[in-house]
């Protein structure tokens, strides 16, 4: 154990005092707290999630190896109080937490209507549990969630602007409808085609005897920005769509970027309507090796 400290639970009722030695402390106000739960829910695809704390905020990564990586960014601004004190040489703090359990703890009071809940995350040091303290109308609850060390860090996706070959920013409704249509028939992969001429943006699936194509013109009112430097066609696994569906449902805008290696970055802008702050969830997907290989 890194250092000896008093029993955290016994300190609780007076107030959730941020202590100056903890690696990470993040305190959330009621409306941001609800939004954070919404975001956590949308990325709960796998059990374990890697939490990275930097000066700029909190980053949560869920990874399905070989397929996609989901990242949620909770920037520093949405926290009422934010403290990041990584041990000397490091610039970030990383730990792994079971997202299901964390979500269960956070949602303990949320369902009560008309009540406001505030929450605070505290991670004292390596090997310590993540302490989640909730307060609602003077009632305090503290949950300690066991953390794990990150042994194999999440893949650092190098998505460089200079490699970018196509980009589209559209309203999420439009993209959601498109993905719903693609999912109507079960199939393994889907194709994304971005062209300089019509149809501009095309999503396509082929299953047994049905071909589904969704086209979005660059002139559509749904499309905010369209850029195509090079005509691209890449195939991705359908699991990527399924993972993208949840954050997509709560998002306002979607950005689709593809680089020259075929790595697709879907970024969802999630607006908290109560205080007009925005957070982002990003999904990186790698293309299928050779879509037509089997044939």
């Amino acid at each position: 154990m890194p250092d000896s400290e008093g029993d955290s639970l016994s300190q609780l009722p007076p107030q959730q005092q941020p202590d100056n030695t903890s690696f990470f402390v993040g305190k959330l106000e009621s409306c941001n707290f609800k939004n954070v739960i919404r975001i956590f829910k949308s990325i709960t695809i796998k059990k374990a999630a890697c939490f990275y704390v930097t000066e700029r905020g909190l980053k949560i990564i869920v990874q399905e190896s070989g397929n996609y990586q989901v990242t949620a960014y909770l920037q520093r601004d949405i926290f009422e109080y934010f403290q990041c004190l990584p041990p000397a040489p490091l610039k970030e703090i990383g730990f792994k937490v079971c997202l299901d359990i964390l979500l269960n703890c956070l949602q303990m009071f949320v369902e009560v209507p008309g009540e406001t809940t505030t929450g605070q995350f505290t991670y004292k040091a390596d090997g310590h549990p993540l302490c989640v303290q909730l307060e609602q109308s003077g009632f305090f609850t503290s949950c300690d969630i066991k953390t794990m060390d990150i042994i194999t860090p999440a893949v650092d996706v190098q998505f460089l602007e200079k490699n970018l070959i196509s980009r589209m920013i559209c309203k999420s409704d439009c993209f959601r409808d498109a993905l719903h249509s693609l999912l109507a028939f079960p199939c393994r992969s889907f194709e994304v085609r971005v062209t300089k001429m019509a149809p501009y943006f095309l999503l396509r699936t082929v299953c047994d005897n049905v071909v589904c194509e969704v086209t979005v013109s660059k002139d559509s009112d749904f499309v905010e920005r369209f850029q195509c430097d090079e005509e691209t066609t890449f195939s991705y696994r359908t699991v990527l769509i399924r993972a993208a569906m949840k954050p997509l449902l709560i998002s306002e805008k979607t950005s689709i970027r593809i680089d020259k290696h075929g790595v697709m970055a879907l970024q969802f802008m999630i607006r908290n309507t109560e205080n007009d702050t925005v957070s982002f969830v990003e999904i990186y997907g790698v293309p299928e090796q050779e879509p037509e290989e089997d044939d």
Binding site: D177, A184, V211
Partner: protein
């Protein structure tokens, strides 16, 4: 080989797409495959059940579409009916997911275009949405032959018009697990009951009956009192098709209050249901009914038509009632209270008065009134499993004879009637 393949294309305005989606959904409850035909200036959808015990047909007419193009008509009208190139067959499971989102009103939709590429054996369904978004499905088609029934409305003797709401109430009165119902058309009243004669474990079965006065129907012309037993599934499908337009309290739909015409003659001969929305579409369904055996004990009222005495003679038992049946389970084919009277004071049900099986104590009565101020009687009574009526399998055989017959068709002019199997 021909660069100018004939084009069959139609465009459906957004408010009508829901109707088309519901029609396909209704037909999916009948058969596994959908048969589509571009016939003159009509789009015809048909389905037949696997056992050929039910057949459904929707005909969408010119006013239903924004645009309708059928090159087969302009080229050779006289051969249009003979040619198989305007007929296609699909698996329901490849069409249902396409139309599923449009079963409910879809605000973004502008139109649905259906186009056939006869050269490539593909049919394209394009859903054109607002703001230049298109969802397009390409489905491979299979060839098919003409599918039609040999039984038409002209062949029937009785005609009843039921408001959609009434049919909805009747059908939904029965539990979802009830497979078949019997419709008793009496001279003055109508009774619907679940058909329990084939149920193996009769201890767990309750019989329900719903009695309505003939005034509830818009028209009630019956040749002779008839008891028709048919599967409820198809009727439910038709009712759900109608009710989506009628009930959700919107008065905008053109099909509000669309009545259902029922045509029939006698047990064993198909029941025809017919709906028409003028100039837009018409739907007809042919449903097989169980053939009444010579000793069918089925319903006392049917046996004693016009009998005004509350107590009547015992119901004749099936002639084969002696086969390995205990005395307690035998002879309680229909048991009920004799004090049940309908609105017009006539008896609804008679007591067989025979030996007292255990079911007598189980008999009870609950009067339920539907929103349509209908007098409804629900009973729990025992029954005899030794009835000699047909099993559903037999029903299907009877139906097969009607559906597979190669005779004149359903009022579509001079068409060949090759039946596809």
């Amino acid at each position: 080989m021909n660069n100018h393949n004939p084009v069959m294309k139609c465009s459906i305005p957004a408010p009508h797409v829901k109707t088309l989606a519901k029609a396909i959904n209704t037909l999916s409850k009948i058969g596994e495959e959908l048969h589509v035909e571009f016939l003159g200036d009509e789009l015809v959808l048909r389905a037949v059940s696997a056992q050929k015990s039910a057949f459904g047909c929707f005909k969408f007419q010119a006013d239903f579409f924004i645009e309708f193009r059928n090159d087969y008509v302009t080229r050779s009208r006289q051969f249009a009916h003979k040619d198989a190139h305007n007929r296609f067959r699909f698996h329901m499971k490849s069409l249902l997911p396409i139309f599923k989102p449009y079963n409910a009103a879809e605000s973004q939709l502008e139109a649905c275009e259906i186009e056939v590429d006869s050269g490539e054996c593909q049919m394209h369904f394009s859903f054109v949405k607002k703001c230049r978004v298109v969802h397009k499905y390409t489905v491979c088609v299979m060839e098919t032959t003409l599918l039609q029934t040999a039984y038409t409305r002209k062949d029937t003797k009785s005609h009843v018009i039921a408001p959609a709401r009434l049919l909805h109430d009747i059908v939904n009165h029965f539990q979802s697990k009830v497979p078949e119902i019997t419709l008793h058309f009496q001279e003055k009243w109508f009774t619907a009951s679940n058909y329990t004669a084939d149920v193996p474990d009769f201890h767990q079965v309750s019989q329900m009956e719903l009695t309505l006065d003939m005034e509830e129907f818009e028209a009630y012309e019956i040749d002779q009192p008839t008891a028709l037993t048919c599967t409820i599934r198809e009727i439910k499908g038709i009712v759900s098709f109608l009710t989506t337009f009628t009930f959700p309290s919107d008065v905008t739909g053109s099909t509000v209050g669309l009545p259902v015409h029922l045509y029939f003659t006698e047990p064993g001969v198909p029941l025809l249901l017919y709906i028409e929305s003028p100039n837009q579409y018409e739907a007809s369904f042919v449903i097989a009914t169980v053939e009444a055996g010579p000793d069918a004990p089925h319903h006392p009222d049917y046996q004693q038509q016009g009998n005004a005495t509350p107590r009547s003679a015992p119901i004749p038992l099936p002639s084969n009632g002696s086969k390995a049946l205990s005395a307690s389970s035998r002879g309680k084919c229909q048991r009920s209270e004799n004090d049940l009277t309908s609105a017009n004071g006539q008896p609804q049900q008679t007591d067989d008065g025979s030996d007292s099986g255990p079911s007598a104590s189980a008999s009870r009565r609950a009067d339920v009134t539907t929103p349509a101020s209908t007098s409804v009687t629900r009973k729990l009574i025992g029954y005899d499993s030794s009835s000699s009526l047909m099993t559903p399998r037999q029903t299907q055989q009877v139906a097969k004879e009607y559906l597979a017959a190669d005779s004149d068709e359903e009022g579509d002019g001079d068409r060949d009637s090759d039946q596809e199997v």
